[in-house]
C-alpha cells in the first residue's frame, strides 16, 4: 500500500502528470498548460495594468510578467505558485477588493487565473517540461534570507539546535555545506546533484512517517523552486543583520508620533488649589475637586460609617465584614478608626486573594488548556497563582513583580541554585506568559500556524495588561491608528523567540522545570510508591492474559511477510522487563533496543522498517480480538482506577530560554508564516523612546544559557520614567476602586483609545507610585483615604444635571459585586468559608442537575480563587456572574444583569445549602426569637441592623414560610419535630432571600 501511494514521487515532473490527467479528465479541449502570456496577461492587461504596470506601480506591484507576480509588491508576492488559496491576487479578486470600485472580473476570468496558479504558475514557455529555457531566467537572485525561512519551517525540527538527525544541522549556510554523516547537503551551483534537493523531490525528506510527529509539512513547489534557485546561484550567504540596517523601508515612526501624551513620560504636576480645601484629604481630592468646582459642583456628603465599612471590605478583601467586625468597628470611636480599618485590611491575607485575582485576569490565568474536547488540566499552574497572591500580600514593588514575571528564569541560574521556595516562586512567576490556550502537545495541533497563535496571544497579554497598547493589528500590517509598524510587532516577538521558538517548538509538557521542594517531592513519591507497585502487578496480570493473543496476532502479521524474515523479526519483538509501571499496557510488545555496531546493522534496519508490525498494544488486541476486551475488563478498570490516583511529579510551569543560538525572526507578511519578509532583531516599539534608556540585550553572566532578551525587556519596562508602565497600573487600581479608569479604555492608551478624564491626576498618581517604590498598597491608601472615596453614592439633583455620568466623581460609583466577590461573600456570611490559602486547586463536581460546584471539605469551601479555573464548565454560579473567558486575558470585567443569575441564586444548590447552614448557626447563637434571628441575619448578610419596617415585613414572612414548611413536613411524615424544623427552615428561607436581595450584591 505504502509503495503505491507514493509512487508519484518517482516521477520527475509530478505536477505535469497530475495536470495531464486532470485536464483530460475534465474533458477540456486544451491539453496543454495554461500560460501566462496566453491565458493570464490578457485579463490583467484589461483590468489591472493601468495601476499595476510600468507606471504607475501602485503598491509597488507590477503585474506585467509571471516573474513580477512572484516577486509581488508591498504586501508580499501576488501569487504562490501551485496554491491559489494562498495567493494574494486571488483573495483580492474573489473578494472584489480588486479592481477597486464597481468593476469585477468575471468568474470565468478569475477561474482562468486560478487554474494557472494551481498548475504551478508556468511562465511564457508553455510546456516547461520540454523547454531548454532555464526555468529561472529572468528572476531575481535568491539570497540566503529568502531560503532561511524554508529551512526553519521545514527542516530544523530534526536538523537543528536540539536534534541533528544523521548528524545534519541545516540552520546555517556553513552547516548545510558541511552536511552530516552522508556528506554535504548543499552543493553550491548544482541543485540537481545537491542531496537536499534530491531528497525533497523524491519524497524521502521530510520522511512521511515523521511528518505528523514533528508537525512538519514538506516544502511547497514554490519553496522547492526557491531552494533550487538559491543553490543554482552558488548558495550565497548574506551579511548578518543589524538593528540599524533594519530601519530601511517601511513606515517610520516620527517625532510627531512620539509627542502623543501616552508616549511621553509622566511629568509630576503641581497639586491644584481648590476652594473647599477642607475637603482635601489626599492630593487626589484636590485634582478631582478642581474639576468639580469648575462645573459648580463639589463632593457629595460622606457615606455612613457602615456603608463605608462594607465598601472598603469588599474593595480590599472581596468579602463583607463579619458581624463581629461590624460591631468592633462601630465601637472604635478613635478619630482614625477608618484609617486603621484600611490598614488592617491591607495586612489581611485575604487582600492578596482579592487583588491577586485582578492580576490573574490581566494575565489570563487558567488551570486548564482550553482546547479540544477535554480541556486538559494544568496540574501545577497554581504555583503561579500562589506567587501572585503572595506578591500582593507582601506589597512587592511592582517593578520587581514585573521583572520576575517576564524574566524570573533569567534573574539567576536556576540550574545551579539550590531549590528554595524563593527560587520556585521566581520561576513560577514566569507563568505570566504561559497562560494562553495551548493545544500543541498534540502534534496534529502543533503546526507552526498554531505556534504563532500562541506567541501572538502572549504578546497580547503582555501589551494589553502591562503596556496598555493594542499591537495585535501589527501582526498582519502596520497599525492603522497607532504608530506601531509591523516591524515593531515582530521585534517584540523576537524577544520571545528564544523561549517560544516557533521552529524548534517545545510543547507545553516539555516546558516544565522539574523541581519541587524536597518536601513536595517526597510527598508525591510516597503517595505514588504503593500505587506504582499495584500498577506493576496489575499489568503483569494483564500481560499474562494477553500472551496467547499476542502470539497469535504477531504470527498473523508475520504471515504476510516472506518466510525468511519471520524468524529474525520474532527475535526482535519482546516485552520489556524493566518497566516502571503504567506503560506496559500501551505496548505489550516493542522492538528490542539494539547496540549501535556493525554486527547489528541489518537487524537495526529491520527493526526500523517493521516497527509497526512488531509493536502490539492493548488497542491492537481489542481491535483484533473482540473477546479480549470483555475478558480483561475488570483488570483494566482496576488499572485505570489506580492510575487515576497517581500524582504528577512536582514541577514548575515556567517560561524559559531554550538556550543556544536563537533562530531568526522574520517579519511575516500579512501574518502568514509562509510569507516571510525581512529578518528582524529583538526590540521594543520605536515610538517609545522619550526619556528612556533604549532596549539593549546584554549577555548574562550568571545564566549563560539564556539570551537575556526578556530580562532586557523587563529592565526597559521598569524604568522609572517609562511612559506607560506606571500609568497603566495606576489606572487599573483606580478602575477597581472607582468603577471606571481615569483612562476609560484600560488596555488601550493609544490614539484609538479614550483620553484620560483627569490627565494631571493620572500623572500625579503615576509619579507618586514610582516615588513610593512602586508600592501598590501605597496607592490604595492614597485613594481610599481620600474624601472622594468616602462620598455617598446617592445622587443629588445638581450632580444629576451637571455630572450625569459621574465622570467627575461627584459621588461614589455603585456597582454589582463581581463573580468572585459574590461567591466568596456568600461563603463568608453563611459561615461556610474555609480560609485555608494556597496549594493545588480544589476540584469541581457536577451535581445531578448539571450544576457545577466546588467540592467542599469538612472545613467548608475555599475562596473561588482556590477552586479550579476551568475554561469549559467552570463553577456555574461564577459563570452566571460574568466570569471571564480568558481570550486570551481580561482587562475589564463585564457586568451583566440577566435572568440566569436569578435562577442560580434562587434555585441553585449552592446558595440554598449555604443558607440552611447560616440559619442553623444563627439559631445556635440567638435561639428562636424571630426579632433576634432577623437582626442577626441582617447583620451578617448586609452589615447592618434591619429597619423597623424590614423587621416587621421579615417577621410576617418568617411566619408565612414556617406555615408552608409545616404543611410540607407533615405531608412528608418527617421524623423531625415539625415546629422546630419548620422554624429552622423558615429562617433558612429568610437568609436565602437576603442573599438574593439587590442590597446584598450591589455595593453602595
Amino acid at each position: 500500500m505504502l509503495i503505491r501511494v507514493h509512487s508519484w514521487f518517482a516521477f520527475p515532473s509530478i505536477l505535469l502528470t497530475g495536470l495531464a490527467l486532470s485536464s483530460a479528465a475534465s474533458g477540456a479541449e486544451r491539453s496543454d498548460l495554461p500560460t501566462f502570456k496566453a491565458d493570464v496577461l490578457p485579463i490583467l492587461a484589461e483590468n489591472c495594468l493601468m495601476c499595476h504596470g510600468q507606471e504607475p506601480r501602485q503598491g509597488e506591484l507590477d503585474l506585467q510578467s509571471a516573474a513580477a507576480l512572484l516577486q509581488g509588491g508591498q504586501s508580499g508576492p501576488a501569487i504562490v505558485a501551485g496554491s491559489p488559496d494562498r495567493s494574494l491576487i486571488m483573495e483580492k479578486l474573489v473578494s472584489g477588493q480588486m479592481p477597486p470600485g464597481e468593476a469585477r472580473l468575471s468568474p470565468e476570468d478569475i477561474d482562468r487565473i486560478r487554474r494557472w496558479i494551481e498548475r504551478g504558475a508556468p511562465r511564457e514557455y508553455g510546456r516547461t517540461a520540454d523547454g531548454d529555457v532555464s526555468p529561472h531566467s529572468g528572476l531575481p537572485a535568491v539570497s540566503e534570507k529568502d531560503v532561511l525561512p524554508i529551512f526553519q519551517v521545514r527542516c530544523v525540527a530534526c536538523h537543528g539546535k536540539r536534534r541533528q538527525e544523521a548528524g545534519l544541522d541545516l540552520r546555517t549556510r556553513a552547516s548545510r555545506l558541511k552536511g552530516g554523516r552522508s556528506g554535504p547537503a548543499v552543493l553550491p551551483g548544482d541543485p540537481d546533484q545537491s542531496p537536499i534537493i534530491q531528497k525533497i523531490e523524491s519524497g524521502e525528506m521530510p520522511p512521511v512517517e515523521m511528518q505528523l510527529a514533528n508537525s512538519v509539512r514538506p516544502p511547497t513547489a514554490a519553496e522547492l523552486q526557491l531552494l533550487r534557485r538559491w543553490i543554482a546561484g552558488g548558495a550565497p550567504s548574506d551579511p548578518p543583520i543589524s538593528a540599524t540596517a533594519e530601519g530601511n523601508g517601511g513606515p517610520t515612526v516620527t517625532e510627531e508620533d512620539r509627542k502623543f501624551w501616552s508616549f511621553q513620560p509622566p511629568v509630576r504636576p503641581p497639586v491644584p488649589e481648590v476652594l473647599s480645601s477642607r475637603l482635601v484629604r489626599t492630593p487626589v481630592d484636590a485634582f478631582l475637586l478642581a474639576r468639580l468646582e469648575a462645573r459648580g459642583l463639589s463632593f457629595s456628603p460622606p457615606a455612613s460609617r457602615l456603608r463605608l465599612l462594607r465598601r472598603a471590605y469588599l474593595d480590599l478583601v472581596g468579602m463583607p465584614p463579619s458581624a463581629a467586625e461590624v460591631e468592633a468597628y462601630l465601637q472604635d470611636r478613635r478619630p482614625d478608626a477608618y484609617e486603621r480599618m484600611i490598614e488592617s485590611l491591607l495586612s489581611s491575607s485575604h487582600y492578596g486573594e482579592r487583588w491577586g485575582r485582578y492580576w490573574l485576569d490581566l494575565a489570563g490565568y487558567s488551570d486548564s488548556e482550553g482546547f479540544g474536547a477535554h480541556d486538559r488540566f494544568r496540574p501545577y499552574a497554581w504555583r503561579y497563582r500562589d506567587y501572585v497572591i503572595r506578591s500582593f500580600n507582601r506589597d512587592k514593588p511592582y517593578s520587581q513583580f514585573l521583572m520576575e514575571q517576564i524574566a524570573g528564569d533569567e534573574l539567576a541560574d536556576y540550574r545551579k541554585e539550590q531549590v528554595t521556595p524563593e527560587l520556585i516562586d521566581r520561576l513560577a512567576a514566569t507563568g505570566f506568559l504561559r497562560t494562553t490556550p495551548d493545544p500543541t502537545d498534540a502534534p496534529e495541533r502543533g503546526f507552526i500556524a498554531e505556534r504563532m497563535n500562541i506567541i501572538a496571544d502572549e504578546i497580547e497579554v503582555l501589551t494589553s495588561a502591562v503596556m496598555g497598547l493594542t499591537v495585535k493589528c501589527a501582526r498582519c500590517h502596520d497599525h492603522k491608528y497607532d504608530p506601531i509598524p509591523q516591524k515593531d510587532y515582530y521585534r517584540l516577538s523576537a524577544i520571545f523567540q528564544t523561549s517560544y521558538d516557533p521552529y524548534e517548538w517545545l510543547p507545553p509538557k516539555k516546558r516544565r522545570i522539574p523541581i519541587g521542594l524536597e518536601r513536595e517531592n517526597e510527598e508525591v513519591a510516597a503517595h505514588n510508591r504503593p500505587l506504582k507497585a499495584e500498577i506493576r502487578s496489575l499489568e503483569k496480570g494483564l500481560l499474562k492474559e494477553a500472551v496467547p493473543f499476542l502470539d497469535k496476532l504477531l504470527e498473523e502479521r508475520l504471515a504476510n511477510l516472506p518466510e525468511a524474515l519471520r524468524q529474525e523479526l520474532r527475535a526482535l519483538a519482546h516485552t520489556p522487563q524493566d518497566y516502571q509501571g503504567g506503560e506496559l499496557s500501551r505496548k505489550f510488545l516493542v522492538v528490542r533496543e539494539l547496540p549501535e555496531d556493525e554486527s547489528s546493522q541489518v537487524r537495526r534496519y529491520l527493526a526500523g522498517k517493521f516497527k509497526k508490525t512488531l509493536q502490539i498494544g492493548l488497542a491492537d488486541l481489542n481491535r483484533r480480538f473482540p473477546e479480549f476486551g470483555p475478558k480483561t475488563e475488570s483488570l483494566r478498570k482496576q488499572l485505570d482506577e489506580v492510575k487515576g490516583k497517581l500524582r504528577t511529579e512536582p514541577y514548575v510551569r515556567a517560561l524559559m530560554d531554550t538556550g543556544g543560538r536563537p533562530s531568526t525572526t522574520f517579519l511575516l507578511k500579512r501574518g502568514n508564516h509562509l510569507s516571510p519578509g525581512d529578518a528582524v532583531t529583538p526590540g521594543v516599539p520605536a515610538v517609545l523612546t522619550t526619556g528612556l534608556t533604549p532596549y539593549r540585550v546584554d549577555p548574562l553572566k550568571h545564566a549563560q544559557e539564556s539570551s537575556g532578551r526578556r530580562l532586557a525587556l523587563a529592565r526597559w519596562l521598569t524604568q522609572p520614567g517609562h511612559p506607560l508602565t506606571s500609568r497603566v497600573l495606576v489606572n487599573q487600581v483606580w478602575l477597581r476602586h472607582f468603577g471606571r479608569g481615569l483612562v476609560p479604555s484600560p488596555s488601550n492608551f493609544g490614539r484609538s483609545g479614550e483620553p484620560p478624564t483627569h490627565p494631571r491626576l493620572l500623572d500625579w498618581l503615576a509619579t507618586e507610585f514610582v516615588n513610593r517604590g512602586w508600592s501598590i498598597k501605597a496607592l490604595h491608601r492614597i485613594m481610599m483615604t481620600s474624601t472622594a472615596y468616602r462620598q455617598t453614592s446617592r445622587i443629588g439633583p445638581e450632580a444629576l444635571e451637571l455630572d450625569p455620568e459621574n465622570i467627575l466623581l461627584s459621588r461614589m460609583r455603585r456597582g454589582r459585586m463581581d463573580a468572585e466577590a459574590l461567591y466568596d461573600s456568600i461563603l463568608k456570611v453563611t459561615g461556610r468559608l474555609d480560609p485555608t490559602p494556597f496549594g493545588p486547586a480544589d476540584a469541581l463536581e457536577t451535581k445531578p442537575n448539571k450544576e457545577v460546584v466546588a467540592k467542599g471539605s469538612r472545613a467548608g469551601f475555599r475562596r473561588s480563587i482556590y477552586t479550579q479555573q476551568r475554561r469549559y464548565d467552570p463553577v456555574s454560579l461564577l459563570e452566571a456572574y460574568d466570569l471571564p473567558r480568558m481570550t486570551p486575558n481580561c482587562v475589564e470585567r463585564e457586568n451583566s444583569t440577566v435572568a440566569t443569575q436569578a435562577l442560580h441564586m434562587m434555585n441553585g444548590t449552592t446558595v440554598w445549602e449555604h443558607s440552611r447552614y447560616m440559619a442553623g448557626r444563627i439559631i445556635d447563637r440567638v435561639g428562636y426569637d424571630p426579632r433576634r434571628q432577623i437582626g442577626q441575619a441582617y447583620l451578617q448578610a448586609l452589615s447592618r441592623e434591619p429597619t423597623e419596617w424590614e423587621l416587621e415585613r421579615s417577621r410576617a414572612a418568617l411566619e408565612q414560610f414556617a406555615g408552608h414548611w409545616k404543611s410540607r413536613l407533615r405531608d412528608d411524615r418527617a421524623p423531625t419535630p415539625v415546629h422546630w424544623a419548620a422554624q429552622w427552615r423558615a429562617l433558612s428561607s429568610l437568609c436565602h432571600t437576603l442573599l438574593n436581595s439587590a442590597e446584598f450584591s450591589f455595593v453602595d
Binding site: 501511494v5 474573489v94 496534529e444 496571544d457 479604555s745 448539571k850 469549559y872
Partner: protein
C-alpha cells in the same frame, strides 16, 4: 475587556447606518410590524425597552450596558431567525452531495501531489476511493444527491447546495473554531453570539441564542462552540437540554413546599422595591428586579417551548420521534421549530461527538449518521414550510470540513476517509435562499473547491446578510479594534444562492 465605544453619536451596538446600496433602514416599529406576531410585537418592544433592559448611563460600575432588546437590522431582512444544523465531524461530500464518477476510473491511484497536501496521517493514506453510493437527480431542479439522503431528496427544491466551500485547517478543533468564529483560534465569539449581539431576541422570556446539544455528549471544543468570547456574556449561547429541565436551575428546589417560592419572591420584591426607592435614578436596580421576574416567567416559557407533548402524533411521527434511530435528532429538530416560532433568534443543533468523522468504516458510519438525521432534517423543512415559517427562517446545514476523496486505511483494515478542508458541501434553505440552486464545484476528484469558491467568511457574511446585517458594519469596539465576525478577511455575500 471591553473598550467602550468612543464617539457618542454611534448607533446602537456598533451597528452602522446602512450603506447606500442597501435597502432603506426600517424603523423599529416597521421591523416589528413585519416580523410581528401579535404575541411578540410592538407592545412587547416597549416593555422590553422600558423595564427589562435599561440603557441608563449610570449602569453599575460605569460599564457599558448590553442587553437583548430586539434591534433594528441594517436593512430589510429576509430571515428573522436561523436554525444551524451543525454537522460536526466532517460529512463526506463525495458520498453525499458531490458525485465524482472519475473516482471510479482512477480508483487506488494518487494522480497529483496536491491531493495529499491536507492529509493528517500520511502513513495511513491510500489512493482515490470511489463512492459506494449511487447518485440521482431529484425535484424540479434535478439536484443530484446520494442514495443515503432519500428524505432530503424530497426537499431539494427548497435548498441551495453549495459544493465549493473551503476551510482553513485539517483538524477538528481549529476547523470547528473557524466555522463557528471565523478564525482557527479559541478566542473569538461564535456566529450565534454575533447574531444575538446584532439583533437581540424577540421573545423576552427566552434567550436569543439557544443551543440544543446532543444528550449523548458535548461536541469537540465543548461549550466554547457557543462562546461569546469578548462579546458581553449575555450573547453567549444558552444550552437547552433536550431531556429533563431545559435550563439549569429553572425550577424551584424540589424539597421546597410548593407555595414557598412565591412567598419568597414576594418578600424579595418588597425588600428590593424599598431598596430601590431609597436610590432614585439608579435604573440598573430596576433591571435587576426585572431580571428576577423574567427568571420566573422563563420557567414557564422554556418548559413550554420544549414540551413536545403539545405536538400532534402526526407531527411527532413526521420528525421520527416514534423510531429509535431518528428520535433523538428528531426531538431537537422539532424543538428548534418551536423555539423559532417563539421568537428565538439563533438555534444551533449539535450532534453527538464526531459521527460524521468516518476515518474508517465509511459505509457503517455514513449510514448511521444519515439514518439519524436525514428524516428529521427533511421533516423540519417540510414543517417550517407548511407553517409559513420557512420564508423567515434560514436553515443552514454543514460541518467544519468535508473529507478527502482518498481512502484512509486503519489497522482494522476497513477504509474510511481523512479530513478534507479544501473543498466540501453545505446547504442553506428558507430565509430568502433560492431553492433548487446548486452552486460552485470542486475539482474532478472532489478534493478542492475550484469554481465559485465560497470561504467560511463568505458563508458568515451570507448568513448575516439574510438577517439584514452587513458583515462590514456589525462590529464591536475592543482594545481600539473594530472587531467583526469576518475579522479583516475579505468576504462577500454569496448572492448567487439567494432569491
Amino acid at each position: 475587556m471591553v473598550v467602550r465605544r468612543q464617539s457618542p453619536p454611534k448607533p446602537e451596538h456598533g451597528m452602522k447606518q446602512t450603506s447606500p446600496t442597501d435597502s432603506p433602514r426600517l424603523s423599529r416599529r416597521e421591523w416589528f410590524a413585519r416580523s410581528g406576531s401579535l404575541l411578540y410585537g410592538t407592545a412587547l418592544a416597549s416593555i422590553l425597552g422600558k423595564e427589562l433592559f435599561p440603557t441608563d448611563p449610570l449602569l453599575a460600575s460605569g460599564g457599558q450596558s448590553y442587553d437583548l432588546r430586539p434591534r433594528t437590522p441594517h436593512f430589510d431582512p429576509k430571515a428573522k431567525a436561523v436554525i444551524h444544523l451543525f454537522m460536526n465531524g466532517g460529512p463526506s461530500q463525495v458520498d453525499l452531495f458531490d458525485p465524482k464518477p472519475l473516482l471510479r476510473k482512477y480508483a487506488g491511484t494518487v494522480p497529483n501531489r496536491d491531493l495529499t497536501s491536507d492529509i493528517t496521517s500520511p502513513t495511513q493514506s491510500g489512493g482515490l476511493l470511489p463512492s459506494p453510493y449511487s447518485f440521482s437527480r431529484h425535484g424540479q431542479s434535478g439536484m443530484e444527491l446520494s442514495e443515503l439522503l432519500p428524505h432530503l431528496a424530497t426537499r431539494v427544491d427548497d435548498i441551495a447546495l453549495i459544493r465549493s466551500m473551503y476551510g482553513a485547517h485539517f483538524n477538528h478543533e481549529p476547523a470547528i473554531f473557524f466555522m463557528q468564529t471565523g478564525r482557527t483560534v479559541a478566542t473569538r465569539p461564535s456566529v450565534g453570539a454575533w447574531v444575538a449581539y446584532g439583533l437581540g431576541t424577540e421573545n423576552r422570556n427566552l434567550p436569543a441564542y439557544v443551543v440544543l446539544d446532543d444528550p449523548k455528549g458535548l461536541p469537540v471544543n465543548g461549550i466554547a462552540n457557543w462562546q461569546s468570547a469578548w462579546l458581553p456574556p449575555v450573547y453567549q449561547g444558552t444550552r437547552f437540554r433536550a431531556e429533563g429541565p431545559p435550563v439549569l436551575n429553572l425550577d424551584p428546589r424540589p424539597e421546597w413546599p410548593a407555595p414557598l417560592a412565591k412567598a419568597q419572591r414576594s418578600l424579595l420584591h418588597d425588600l428590593d422595591r424599598a431598596h430601590r426607592r431609597e436610590r432614585p435614578h439608579e435604573s440598573y436596580l430596576e433591571g435587576r428586579i426585572a431580571s428576577y421576574e423574567l427568571a420566573a416567567r422563563m420557567q414557564l416559557a422554556a418548559s413550554d417551548a420544549l414540551d413536545l407533548s403539545k405536538e400532534t402524533d402526526k407531527t411527532r411521527e413526521m420528525y421520527g420521534l416514534n423510531r429509535e434511530e431518528t428520535a433523538s435528532y428528531g426531538r431537537r429538530c422539532l424543538m428548534a421549530r418551536r423555539l423559532v416560532e417563539r421568537g428565538v433568534r439563533f438555534v444551533q443543533l449539535y450532534i453527538e461527538s464526531q459521527i460524521w468523522d468516518a476515518h474508517s468504516d465509511l459505509d457503517k458510519m455514513l449510514r448511521y449518521s444519515c439514518g439519524k438525521t436525514d428524516l428529521p432534517v427533511a421533516a423540519l423543512l417540510t414543517d417550517l414550510k407548511q407553517r409559513g415559517l420557512l420564508d423567515s427562517t434560514l436553515v443552514v446545514w454543514g460541518g467544519e470540513f468535508g473529507r478527502l476523496p482518498l481512502s484512509q486505511t486503519q489497522a482494522s483494515g476497513v477504509s474510511g476517509r481523512d479530513h478534507g478542508p479544501s473543498g466540501f458541501s453545505v446547504w442553506m434553505a428558507g430565509g430568502g435562499v433560492q431553492g433548487g440552486t446548486t452552486y460552485g464545484a470542486t475539482d474532478e476528484f472532489g478534493h478542492k473547491a475550484v469554481e465559485n469558491r465560497v470561504s467560511v467568511h463568505d458563508f458568515h457574511a451570507t448568513i448575516l446578510h439574510q438577517l439584514g446585517m452587513n458583515f462590514r458594519d456589525l462590529a464591536y469596539e475592543r482594545h481600539g479594534l473594530h472587531e467583526r465576525l469576518t475579522d479583516q478577511f475579505p468576504a462577500r455575500v454569496v448572492s448567487e444562492v439567494l432569491v
